[in-house]
Symmetry: C2
Subunit: 425 residues, 2 copies
């Protein structure tokens, strides 16, 4: 089984090393002799665990090579990764990828090519790094109707929020994440929720049999968060996480959204700290199930890539046909965010004048938003007071309208935060 490896960065190196160092274990598990035949690299001059003639700077040459049976794509990013995966599948070659971006945006098209050409496309490493997720969701929970999924699938944000919970500002925590190698120099995709939305898109298709593109997923990042919000949350018994959430909505659709959310402190995900990832799924038979572990890192991601490799090689060695895509039944649609119902946390800076509270509660009542908790502190030196409100569940549209009206109240200096609240307390 001759492998063509596209990309020898952190994960690619870990895969190459494992293919060489634990070749006997992997070959035994696969029931086939696994050989790292060719690799596409950017820089030919750097030392590699392959001979010079096995290397190329042209990944398309590797996809086209006659002595490659199977392609592992670890370049990341949208292009040329998508085109390479498509080209390999078109030639009937199985592809294993860790590329969440390509899967999220082009997954259905690529899976259709795979299906037409009788090749297999596997992507266990695309979500949750070393945590087995894709296979368990696809196979092990097959008998279930999944009702909801809450996931921490961006380690960078979770690392930052864990530090902010200890009082650091976003800037301080981000700098620490960059120092520790948990955040990139350009952290936008992570802190703005783009990465988490790509991954959620992949999970939503699998777990809910929903038609979903990343563009349909509501995204709100962690940029605007203040350590004060985390500290008020703690006072009310909540922990703040960047969550990727999917849930069947009453209308038959599926909610799909990524945003900061308060979770009750005793929720299993509330205790997932630092760069860890975790996915909490509720099935109608299995009940709540949680998978957690390292969501990133060379070796952890390689673990998932190699699991797919063993699977594909094993099937090829046995001569089994590629399983046809499962017939999926009626597909669900993504519910518009405006219809999603959540509880909400508001933090307002207000003038400390009589009647403020009556005005605020009137606005909420006008939008039929119930009030669950309130914190009001004695005003500071400048006559400004801070009010924290925790509401009962209301539609997003009503919450957004209420926020707008609250901002217009003469006594309101600023809406400092509106953060959704998940989980039962």
């Amino acid at each position: 089984m001759r492998i063509g490896l596209l990309g020898v960065g952190t994960v690619g190196q870990a895969v190459a090393r494992a293919l060489i160092e634990r070749r006997d274990v992997l070959s035994r598990a696969a029931g086939a002799n696994l050989v790292l035949q060719r690799a596409a690299v950017r820089d030919l001059s750097r030392p590699r665990p392959l001979a010079r003639e096995q290397l190329s700077t042209d990944p398309f040459a590797i996809v086209r090579a006659d002595d490659v049976d199977l392609v592992i794509e670890l370049l990341g990013g949208e292009e040329p990764a998508r085109a390479l995966i498509a080209a390999a599948l078109e030639r009937g070659r199985p592809v294993i990828t860790a590329n969440k971006r390509v899967l999220a945006w082009h997954g259905p098209q690529l899976l259709a090519i795979a299906s037409t050409r009788g090749a297999e496309l596997r992507y266990e490493a695309a979500v949750g790094g070393g945590i087995p997720l894709i296979a368990p969701l696809t196979d092990d929970l097959a008998a279930n109707r999944v009702t909801e999924l809450h996931a921490i699938i961006n380690g960078t944000c979770n690392y930052i929020l864990t530090r902010m919970a200890q009082g650091e500002t976003l800037e301080e925590a981000l700098a620490k994440a960059q120092e520790a190698g948990y955040a990139e120099a350009d952290p936008r995709d992570d802190v703005e929720g783009v990465d988490a939305a790509d991954k959620l898109c992949v999970l939503v298709r699998l777990a809910f049999n929903a038609q979903c593109t990343p563009a349909q997923i509501f995204k709100q990042g962690i940029r605007a968060l203040d350590p004060r919000d985390l500290s008020y949350g703690r006072e009310l018994g909540y922990v703040l996480k960047l969550l990727a959430i999917a849930r069947r909505s009453p209308g038959g659709g599926v909610e799909a959204r990524v945003h900061p959310a308060f979770l009750p402190a005793d929720h299993p995900l509330a205790r997932v700290d630092g760069a860890q990832n975790a996915v909490h799924v509720v099935g109608d038979l299995c009940g709540p199930v949680m998978f957690s572990g390292l969501g990133a890192g060379g070796d952890a991601t390689a673990s998932a890539v190699l699991a797919d490799l063993v699977h594909v090689a094993r099937r090829l060695a046995l001569g089994d046909p590629v399983p046809p895509q499962r017939e999926s039944g009626p597909e669900a649609q993504v519910t518009p965010m405006s219809e999603v119902r959540t509880r909400c946390f508001f933090r307002l800076a207000v003038d400390d004048v009589p009647g403020v509270f009556a005005q605020i509660t009137r606005v909420l009542a006008d939008h039929q938003i119930g009030l669950a908790s309130v914190i009001q502190r004695e005003p500071g030196r400048l006559g400004s007071a801070e009010v924290v409100l925790l509401t009962y569940a209301a539609p997003e549209q009503a919450l957004a309208n209420a926020e707008e009206e609250l901002a217009k109240l003469p006594s309101t200096r600023a809406i400092k935060a509106r953060i959704r609240v998940e989980g039962q307390k």
Copy 2:
């Protein structure tokens, strides 16, 4: 795909119900029409979701029936379940079972029959109820060398210990567990660690490629535990759990043991409360990974049984041959308990006389056991004091010898507890 169901108790009923109510979903996932053809029951007079002529009180008749393609064994217990599974496999029929007892004691023999006859034996439901465990350990972590595994796989004991942590005695907590349906009228297999050892045996074979029988697994139950131990543990930063533990030992063997153990309060397993199950595995590539969820219950266990069913039916529908058993490489052996090194918690009732402490520490020093923490309270009315010791890691044999000598000291009234300590603090 005609199914013969052996046993229509709690799990069997849930499986039968799902096969009828979600037949379309399951059939789509399996790519085959799934039909509940026959069922073996104990009592023909009770109402069932099958016609009278589909029922039999003779499970062997169902295994032999010509119109059954696949057998689901949910009788539990050793015999006749083992004989039925063997008989079905001998006839070349795939078998799905939730039977940890049979798997633990007869797994290798039954898998050998399966292999010879080209039938498949699957048992996702045998450990951890609805939590996907067997498939992830077998497939998704295939590239890893697993270094250690800590599991909470007996929900009854975890429920009892969770209540004892709140101050209840074992008897009170056990009564509550029985009331809540978490413990059987005869709870011996659960509270004595027999059930957990059976399950651990199955996991150890898969995760460590070790030869293992339940008889080789060290077992200590929760009978002797006192709420005082849990409360002292809490004071030192630990939580008490009944753990199933496997770990590669320096000599090349594999430790396999079930006993109460203190875990640091921030260990992921320390937060697994009530009747939940969880398995925490460390692989050399994937790092620590945890799976958690409901370890028992009709629907949760049915979820796992049906995942196996979909898998087998899908393979049969595609005409794929049964994958041969994986070549396993050199098998590890279970390390004798006397060689296992652990830290230990001792609780002693002693006379409050001068020199007691010097005697105790001398005994430990004689056995080269280091002392990490000590709690000594002011003596009670009867001149008896309580001493709690936390040691550094030492071989089981040394700890047992030290315990024996401590018991013989003239100032020792009783060794109230010796409890092993797991996890780094």
